[in-house]
């Protein structure tokens, strides 16, 4: 689970419509708005970074967006750890000898 904090900037006159659109998007919450500068702070919750990238692209593609960039990322729920010899090293499949050209 990834949670990101994202800054979105729009022209001040687009702020209301953008907030409305953002609120309708899955995984996105609008937290703070600064009317005068057109800045909106949102969070995005996503299963994977893949979904996060797509999510951010989705925001950037909205009409009137000047900037949408991440600032904060939390991954405290990741718990996997390291053990033993990596599997990749036990199965040597890398072809280092065969001539490259058939």
């Amino acid at each position: 689970m990834n949670i990101s904090g994202i800054l979105v900037v729009v022209a001040p006159d687009k702020i209301d419509s953008t907030v409305e659109t953002l609120n309708s998007l899955d995984g996105i919450d609008v937290h703070h708005i600064e009317q005068s500068s057109g800045r909106i702070i949102i969070t995005q919750e996503a299963e994977s970074i893949h979904d996060e990238i797509d999510g951010l692209k989705r925001v950037r593609a909205l009409p009137g967006i000047v900037l949408a960039e991440m600032s904060y990322h939390s991954f405290e729920e990741d718990t996997e750890n390291v053990t033993g010899i990596p599997e990749e090293l036990e199965h040597e499949t890398l072809d280092t000898v065969n001539a490259p050209i058939d």
Binding site: M70, S71, Y72, D78, E88, T96
Partner: protein
């Protein structure tokens, strides 16, 4: 209502983001945010991906990194953080992290053909030293090599450079940064006599014209791009031009996109120079006071071997061009010669030599580059109307020429990874200098870099085959003397003959000139072009390859010994970014298992060598230098003993844990602040290696135009890096400009004070005519460099261009970013971007599996005809992060002959259905 942990984290993420960008939020939100972060410690750090050098804050809890955020106080990124920034934390926790040394064994002994088995550090170093000594005794200092890195921390690079150069007396240490910015370095040294940019990132907010040349900033430098787009979109007067060989994301907000044919950027630059003169946009006053004109030989080859002995049969036709080139129609015009003329490449050994010319000669040089000629030659998209293309070129000239306009030009690998990479670098300065638009806020040519410390470590520390710290070079007797004195080693310990550059270390492994090599903080067996040769070389019976790595990369797989390595926030370190900013961080968490930092690995290895084993007479084939017998380094033991050293002292005692350094104590009351230092703790002799070595290193540059502050200063709470030279505690914003740079002579206005290559003979466009050398102290050089055709181009057999580079979600060979499983799925595998018509012609559709074949190898890849890279007909692109799609088997190991940086951007391939 009680908030769930997830909701609390969201509140906290929003509060942190708002605070980072300076938005006031209600006190209740702040309070909740504090609650979410209870038990979490925050400390400043630097992103270890790309050369931008964003400041990030690292959040740790119970010995683990749990969050990262853009540092609001960091002037580079101002609280923002691109998607890569997040990996800094996540990357430590990949499932296949290496945690113990692994050696190829049969039974309980090392065996080249054995399987990897875990061994102790003791056993690992024993075998490593045994193999080293065998080769060293047989071949001397040239028989060993180190593949260094632009991702080395400053103390790591310094440790290895000192160990190799002052200890082993070998100059065979060269970083992967060679592949990244060596051409930029040559451009700086040739033009200014000193390395690294005059300006800084604030040029973005000061300028009103941004021109990107061969730099897909939107994908590769997203945070700087956010600043550029912010500037562009908030001011209508700001214009943006993207020069590229493939339509990409950077074009999305550009006012003009110029798609040119690979290699013809040189011709476009000369067209611009010609037009600036015709329009009389030249800033004559600036040029007269601060510049001279210069040129050099054209017959400099392409950085390939001079023999086809090691070439595959299919490669031989290209390799032959290293010796002789038949000029094509365009080169003939561009070089004022005849089509079909066969030009012997006579200056492959001295490609950097140059001489002064007059402005009149310079004008004669650029005269052939008319709009008609250059537009025909360079137009990269056959579908584009030639008149429309010409209008864009003219528009570009108008932007550069407009006296009311400030212009900042950015470039990265499109220029640097180029068979004439040093020339295109020189030419961009030529444009800016001719206009007097350099070294001022918003005005300047600025070289972006790709690695976090390509500048700070590779270049400034000098982990190159020919360099010493602070722009000193091994072949200059005064520089050697100065360095030896600072290092407290006998003067003739240092080897005056430059060693092998990184591609040559690979070639040396193949042809038997190097038999022992150590890979650190990089993955050269995946990242070096023409990889099939080097993979075979690694596995040659007589070669011993050590690879220090946190993960099982391709390099690790072809190694004989793998050393598990600590990653960024598991150790103390400093990096230097592309704008001369040096930044520091502390160890945040302990490395996993037995993994250890590279500084420790270098120091521990140094303990295994006594002075008597390395400081006796050593053979150096081909060495010729004043004061040295041909072909050898003298025995310096007698002098060493006079200096108080014993033959039984180890290199660790003499070079590292010496009297002065042992005084620098760990733990350190000023900076350690409760953070651990696994290296100091494991060494156990009470010193603080990173601090002692940094403060020793900085002495090279203090008072010599490369001043760094003291170690402790960079750890100050308020400090977010400092741009060198740091003089009297003050950083330097714009170099060479008297207003900002205290090194400029009083009353000079501008002073290009770099000292290298500042005495030149005079000549005409073709040759030296007056051998008498004139001093150009304080001046910069404006070069004339002609268009030269790429040595390999599409033909009937290999009928498409192929280029490689990065995509946003991955970085370099993907060793780190591919560990993050979700991310891996974002770009599941490298794809071949190609024009839909080219695909159709070959019976291919999107997502079909296809073969790419070049003269050097073939690989399978998925075809992509849509998406963010939109190649013109005849051009293809694939990123090089995926070890399953080994694109460097395809690429050509041509280099810029001056910089020895490989050209990853111009191979000819054929593509067919798999």
């Amino acid at each position: 209502m009680e908030l769930t942990r997830r909701e609390l984290l969201k509140t906290s993420a929003a509060a942190a983001t708002a605070t980072a960008v300076g938005i006031t939020i209600p006190a209740t939100a702040l309070a909740k945010s504090k609650e979410a972060e209870a038990g979490m410690q925050w400390d400043k750090g630097v992103c270890r991906f790309c050369g931008t050098g964003c400041g990030i804050m690292i959040g740790t809890s119970e010995g683990r990194i749990v969050a990262t955020k853009g540092d609001p106080d960091a002037p580079v990124n101002r609280g923002l953080n691109c998607i890569k920034g997040y990996f800094n934390g996540k990357i430590l926790y990949g499932k296949d992290r290496l945690t113990q040394p692994l050696m190829r064994m049969k039974g309980d002994k090392f065996d080249k053909n054995g399987k990897f088995k875990p061994v102790s550090w003791e056993v690992a170093f024993d075998e490593m030293a045994r193999q080293f000594k065998k080769t060293y005794q047989e071949m001397g200092p040239t028989g060993i090599g180190v593949f260094g890195s632009g991702q080395y921390t400053i103390p790591e690079g310094y440790t290895m450079a000192k160990l190799m150069k002052a200890g082993f007396r070998s100059n065979n240490i060269d970083p992967n940064a060679r592949h990244c910015m060596a051409s930029a370095v040559v451009g700086f040294i040739q033009t200014f006599g000193i390395d690294e940019p005059s300006g800084n990132y604030d040029d973005i907010e000061h300028t009103d014209t941004v021109v990107t040349w061969g730099a897909n900033m939107a994908e590769c430098h997203p945070i700087l791009w956010a600043r550029v787009s912010d500037r562009r979109l908030s001011n209508d007067n700001v214009k943006l031009v993207n020069l590229t060989t493939c339509s990409n994301q950077t074009s999305d907000i550009a006012d003009s996109e110029i798609v040119f044919k690979p290699g013809t950027d040189l011709a476009i630059q000369n067209y611009i120079l010609r037009e600036l003169i015709k329009k009389d946009a030249v800033n004559h006053d600036f040029v007269k006071k601060h510049c001279v004109f210069s040129t050099g030989p054209y017959d400099i080859g392409y950085g390939m071997r001079g023999t086809d002995k090691y070439a595959f049969d299919a490669e031989k036709d290209i390799q032959a061009k290293e010796l002789k080139v038949t000029l094509d129609k365009d080169e003939a015009i561009a070089q004022r010669r005849k089509e079909g003329e066969v030009v012997e490449q006579k200056n492959t050994k001295k490609p950097v030599k140059h001489w002064m010319i007059t402005f009149e000669e310079f004008k004669r040089g650029v005269e052939p580059y008319t709009l008609d000629f250059v537009a025909e030659l360079s137009k990269g998209d056959a579908a584009e109307d030639i008149e429309a293309y010409k209008a864009k070129l003219k528009g570009l000239v108008d932007l550069y020429a407009d006296p009311e306009r400030k212009v900042t030009s950015f470039w990265t690998m499109g220029f640097n990874q180029h068979y004439r990479g040093s020339w295109v670098n020189e030419q961009i300065y030529a444009i800016h200098l001719l206009l007097g638009k350099q070294a001022q806020p918003g005005n300047g040519a600025f070289s972006l870099t790709g690695q976090p410390s390509a500048c700070g470590t590779a270049r400034e520390v000098g982990t190159f085959a020919h360099r010493l710290p602070a722009d000193l070079v091994v072949f200059n007797p005064k520089h050697r003397e100065f360095s030896a004195k600072l290092w407290k080693v006998p003067a003739k310990t240092l080897n005056p003959k430059p060693g092998s550059h990184i591609t040559k270390i690979m070639r040396d492994l193949e042809d038997g000139h190097i038999k022992w090599a150590w890979v650190q903080v990089n993955n050269p067996f995946q990242a070096t072009a023409n990889a099939n040769h080097w993979l075979k070389a690694a596995r040659k019976e007589e070669n011993f390859l050590v690879v220090s790595d946190p993960y099982p990369t391709i390099s690790a797989k072809v190694a004989d010994l793998i050393l598990p390595t600590a990653m960024i926030f598991e150790k103390w370190g400093l990096y230097g970014n592309a704008e001369r900013r040096t930044q520091a961080w502390r160890q945040q968490v302990a490395p996993p298992g037995e993994a250890m930092g590279d500084v420790w690995q270098g120091l521990e290895f140094a303990k295994r060598f006594k002075l008597k084993e390395v400081w006796g007479e050593q053979k150096i084939p081909g060495l010729k230098a004043k004061g040295y017998d041909d072909g050898k380094l003298p025995d310096v033991m007698a002098e060493a003993q006079k200096m108080g050293y014993s033959p039984e002292d180890t290199l660790y005692d003499v070079l590292f844990a010496n009297k002065e350094n042992l005084k620098v104590k760990w733990p350190d009351a000023t900076v350690s602040r409760g953070h651990g230092n696994h290296i100091a703790e494991k060494l156990g002799d009470g010193w603080f290696p990173e601090k002692a070595l940094f403060d020793e290193y900085r002495q090279f540059g203090v008072g010599h135009q490369h001043d760094l502050a003291k170690f402790d200063v960079y750890y100050g709470d308020k400090v977010r890096g400092l741009k060198w030279p740091v003089v009297n505690g003050k950083e330097t914003e714009w170099r060479f400009n008297e207003k900002y740079d205290s090194y400029c002579a009083k009353g000079s206005g501008f002073d290009f004070y770099g000292k290298a290559l500042k005495k030149l003979p005079g000549g005409d466009l073709d040759k030296v005519t007056s051998k008498e050398k004139t001093s150009l102290a304080g001046k910069a050089k404006i070069f004339f460099r002609p268009y030269a055709a790429p040595p390999e181009q599409p033909d009937n057999n290999y009928d498409l261009w192929f280029s490689t580079g990065r995509v946003l979600e991955h970085w370099h060979t993907g060793t780190m970013t591919r560990r993050v499983p979700e991310l891996h799925r974002a770009v599941p595998t490298a794809v071949l971007f190609m024009n839909p018509e080219d695909a159709e012609k070959r019976g291919l559709q999107r997502n079909d599996l296809a073969w790419i074949e070049s003269r050097r190898g073939k690989i399978k890849i998925l075809v992509e005809t849509q998406g963010r890279n939109r190649p013109p007909k005849g051009y293809t692109f694939a990123a090089f992060f995926d070890k399953g799609v080994f694109v460097n088997k395809i690429c050509l190991d041509v280099t810029c002959p001056m910089s020895k940086e490989e050209d990853f951007k111009k191979a000819a391939i054929k593509v067919y259905k798999a």
